[in-house]
């Protein structure tokens, strides 16, 4: 049976070739992807792919920032999918464009295309004849749709993919050139600030504007329901006017928050929607000799970008232009259209780089803030930047999770059955996906939209709270269930890995417990229960890199964790070496990763290394704090993250698979590193900490409950 060739998904959705690639007469090649740079280096990797396929030098490539005015619509830059989606689309588009130009050159010269060669964009024929992409650009129209069947180069003939090209954006960032949205100047720019309540979801009951009105430089005060803000001629004035506004504000009581010290009880007591995620039935069911049940939790985790979210907006009649660091310009535009009741064609959303966001942070929320305030600015552009406190308290958080695993063991302690259940809010409430908008100010307006209750993407897209909950091991039977909360006192949405960090922590911790009961080495135990050679290879490679397992020294411990991200993406294994007494110090992380074909090896290492360090921070320190009325972790003091002196040494080995389609690396390390650290704590201290983060208090509590 043969299958007819199909276009890569992003190219099928945006087939017009000219929307991806354009040639200028001066030899510049414009590449226009729909994915955006969020510090992950994607723009460089995509430039490598395009230059490779077109046979041009990468210095000719000019990468265009995504904008709804012209870019292909590639949805959202998330889920470690940009290489898979944008990369494949560009590779196929460029392969076809190359073929089209070769045909045109062959026509011109009256030769066969196979007599032609391309070198840095110049097309050479027999004898001394030559032309180029840019010379032919006028007569070859790319205003045509891509067709299936273009054949990209074989891996062996790719000159750039597989090499560590220097990131295109790094020089600007090192030489303090304005590149971030925060540093972008627009003529006539005004500054806005929005006032948000301290008490969770309190409503604005009254507003005395006197103090704000007294601030020099005030342009406007905007109020619509519980949404309010100021527009001023300088940032300093806007801050002063906001302080004035706060003085005059009276708020209704807010909505109660759960007990931060008993998240599992809260999560398990809410109304839920239950889904069986996966079920495997044994053909030889047998009676378990005993069952083991454990519960694991992770807290709410903040994205906590180093830069507070920022946006700019400018109205022109009933049209508005928005500058944003959103991960999805088209999706943001869709929600803005819902709130503003405007046709999408009246809204242009243009991307400018922000700081790393690590998921759905307030980038989209602040864009609506800017649009609403700019309405009062008489056509001048308005820049809105959130405060650090708002960034830490009004952003969506990564959802807290309670995970229960129960295994049936036979008389030899072998796993016969496995039951994995997750209680968690949904992990996705991004804008642009529903009939109602998901932007914060939309919930605050006088004519308010209902607050979105977060959902979960389907398993086919990697799942949400259930991401990585289906075991990768050869257990004879299992049931995996997800219980998504239908109430949401604390706003949640996508944080790097969605539920995978929690699920991998639970599965890999539980396996470690069973292996320990067996008296079996945890690496050997995992290898014995895996059949996928790629999985075994990363585990063996990480173990070898860490000299698994060095002799036990007092105060030192080693642990391993493994996962294949989303069960379909990158394979990653991590070994943690820790020192622990009262506090845990992670000394070294040794990781192995298999992403299939590697486009930019240093880019992959950078992503894995960064993910490993961020996960270490989550595990040792991070937990959104709150009392009954408000989020209290509103600063870096209240929400500490890992510092330079606490960062472990990180070693990353890539297992090369050039023949396999590439997948992303950005989220592969978090789960395995989390589990590796927890398992190393047990190895070191003999206690299992099943509630993250692993702080001194949690260690003491675990020691007390185990003794």
């Amino acid at each position: 049976m043969s299958t007819s060739p199909t276009l890569p998904v992003s190219l099928a959705a945006n087939p017009r070739l000219s929307s991806w690639i354009r040639f200028a007469a001066d030899g510049e090649v414009t590449v226009s992807p729909g994915k955006v740079e969020i510090g992950q280096g994607i723009v460089t990797a995509l430039a490598q792919i395009a230059a490779d396929e077109l046979d041009i030098d990468i210095v000719r490539v000019r990468m265009v920032r995504a904008s709804t005015a012209a870019s292909p619509n590639e949805g959202v830059t998330s889920g470690s999918l940009s290489i898979q989606q944008s990369g494949r689309a560009l590779r196929h588009a460029c392969a076809e464009i190359r073929r089209i130009f070769l045909a045109a050159a062959a026509d011109r010269f009256g030769v066969e295309t196979r007599a032609l060669e391309i070198s840095d964009g110049t097309i050479y024929g027999p004898g001394n004849i030559s032309t180029s992409y840019w010379e032919l650009a006028d007569e070859v129209s790319l205003d045509r749709d891509a067709t299936p069947g273009a054949t990209p180069k074989p891996v062996a003939r790719r000159a750039l993919a597989g090499h560590s090209a220097a990131r295109l954006d790094i020089p600007d960032k090192v030489f303090a050139q304005p590149r971030f949205i925060h540093d972008t100047a627009l003529p006539g720019l005004l500054h806005g600030r929005v006032m948000r309540p301290e008490m969770s979801r309190a409503k604005l009951a009254g507003l005395d504007e006197t103090a704000a009105r007294a601030v020099a430089g005030l342009i406007a005060i905007v109020r619509d329901g519980s949404f309010s803000g100021v527009v001023c001629d300088t940032e300093r004035a806007a801050e002063a006017a906001l302080r004035g506004l706060r003085k005059g504000a009276t708020w209704s009581q807010g909505e109660a928050l759960p007990d931060e010290n008993d998240l599992a009880a809260f999560l398990k007591a809410q109304p839920i929607e239950s889904t069986v995620i996966d079920k495997r039935t044994s053909d030889r069911p047998a009676q378990a000799a005993r069952t083991v049940r454990r519960q694991y939790t992770r807290p709410y985790i903040a994205h906590a970008s180093i830069a507070p979210s920022c946006a700019m907006a400018q109205w022109d009649g009933d049209r508005v232009h928005v500058w944003t660091h959103s991960q999805g310009v088209y999706l943001l535009r869709a929600d803005l259209a819902l709130v503003l009741e405007l046709p999408v064609e009246h809204i242009t959303v243009e991307h400018l780089e922000g700081a790393g966001c690590y998921g759905h942070n307030p980038a989209d929320d602040v864009a609506l803030d800017a649009v609403l305030l700019a309405k009062a600015a008489a056509g001048r552009p308005v820049r809105v930047q959130w405060s650090r406190a708002d960034e830490m308290t009004h952003a969506p958080f990564g959802a807290a999770m309670a995970i229960e695993i129960e295994a049936g063991l036979d008389a030899r302690n072998e796993i016969m059955s496995w039951h994995h259940a997750i209680w968690s809010n949904g992990h996705a409430a991004r804008p642009g996906r529903a009939a109602k908008p998901a932007l914060l100010a939309g919930f605050e307006l006088g004519n308010a939209f209902p607050r979105v209750i977060s959902g979960n993407p389907p398993q086919a897209n990697g799942g949400g709270g259930d991401r990585n909950s289906v075991p990768l091991y050869d257990f004879p039977s299992w049931t995996v269930e997800s219980h998504r909360l239908l109430t949401m006192p604390i706003r949640t949405s996508a944080l790097r890995t969605l539920g995978a960090q929690g699920n991998v922590f639970a599965i890999e911790s539980f396996l470690d417990e069973i292996a320990a009961e067996h008296g079996e080495d945890p690496v050997a135990f995992r290898l014995r229960h895996l059949t996928d050679e790629r999985a075994k290879d990363v585990i063996r490679t990480a173990a070898r890199g860490a000299n698994w397992k060095p002799a036990q020294k007092p105060g030192t411990g080693y642990g391993i964790g493994f996962a294949r991200y989303k069960n379909t993406g990158a394979y990653c294994a991590a070994v943690a070496e820790i020192e622990g007494e009262e506090d845990i110090r992670v000394k070294r992380l040794t990781l192995a990763v298999d992403v299939g074909e590697v486009i930019n090896p240093d880019g992959v290492i950078n992503q894995i290394e960064g993910g490993a360090i961020q996960a270490t921070s989550w595990v040792l320190k991070e937990r959104v704090r709150f009392d009954a009325t408000r989020i209290t972790s509103n600063s870096w003091t209240e929400y500490p993250i890992l510092r330079f002196s606490e960062v472990p040494a990180v070693q990353v080995d890539i297992v090369q698979r050039p023949e396999i389609e590439p997948v992303g690396a950005g989220e592969a390390a978090h789960g395995p590193v989390t589990a590796a650290i927890a398992n190393a704590v047990f190895d070191c201290l003999g206690v299992r900490v099943r509630d993250l983060p692993i702080t001194r208090d949690r260690l003491i509590a675990a020691m007390n409950s185990s003794s």
Binding site: G39, V174, I306, Q614, S635, A649
Partner: protein, 156 residues
């Protein structure tokens, strides 16, 4: 308004502003120098570090009056693509960042360290950067870059 005089990136500068204005506001607002970044406004993250005298300080909680008659170096004053500082060369060579928002502040802390201690150990580099937060996890690359720059500056 009173005038505050100081040297900014080697150039005599006079600013006509409320002396209680924070230096970061003056740099980013009035002077249009956006190299120092706003991160928290409370001196807790290091994104806005500049060098005053020989020390890296948070410009977000340093009032203008306190830099009167002093030498202030911002990220713009460290070097340029044409005349890069060894630290900037080293950050590029080590590809020592992901998003890069924290980088200007880290370069300032590192430059202040190298002025005071041209041959720092790895531990000393980490200690000098401990007031700077990085969320992407590029710490180890940055430490390697600072050590590389120190070596380059020490070479004859």
């Amino acid at each position: 308004m009173p005038h505050t005089r100081f040297r900014l990136n080697g150039v005599a500068t006079e600013v006509d502003a409320d002396p209680d204005t924070m230096l970061l506001d003056v740099l980013r607002g009035r002077l249009g120098l956006t190299g120092a970044h706003f991160g928290c406004g409370a001196g807790e993250c290091g994104a806005c570090h500049v060098i005053v005298g020989d020390h890296a300080v948070s410009a977000c909680d340093t009032p203008l009056w306190s830099v009167a008659d002093k030498e202030v170096t911002t990220p713009e004053g460290l070097g340029s693509a044409d005349k890069p500082h060894p630290l900037q060369r080293a950050f590029i060579a080590e590809q020592a960042l992901q998003c890069g928002y924290c980088v200007p502040g880290i370069l300032m802390s590192a430059a202040a360290l190298l002025r005071q201690n041209p041959h720092p150990s790895e531990t000393e580099v980490r200690a000098a950067l401990d007031r700077n937060l990085c969320r992407c996890g590029s710490h180890n690359r940055m430490v390697r870059a600072v050590l590389r720059a120190a070596q380059e500056m020490a070479a004859p």
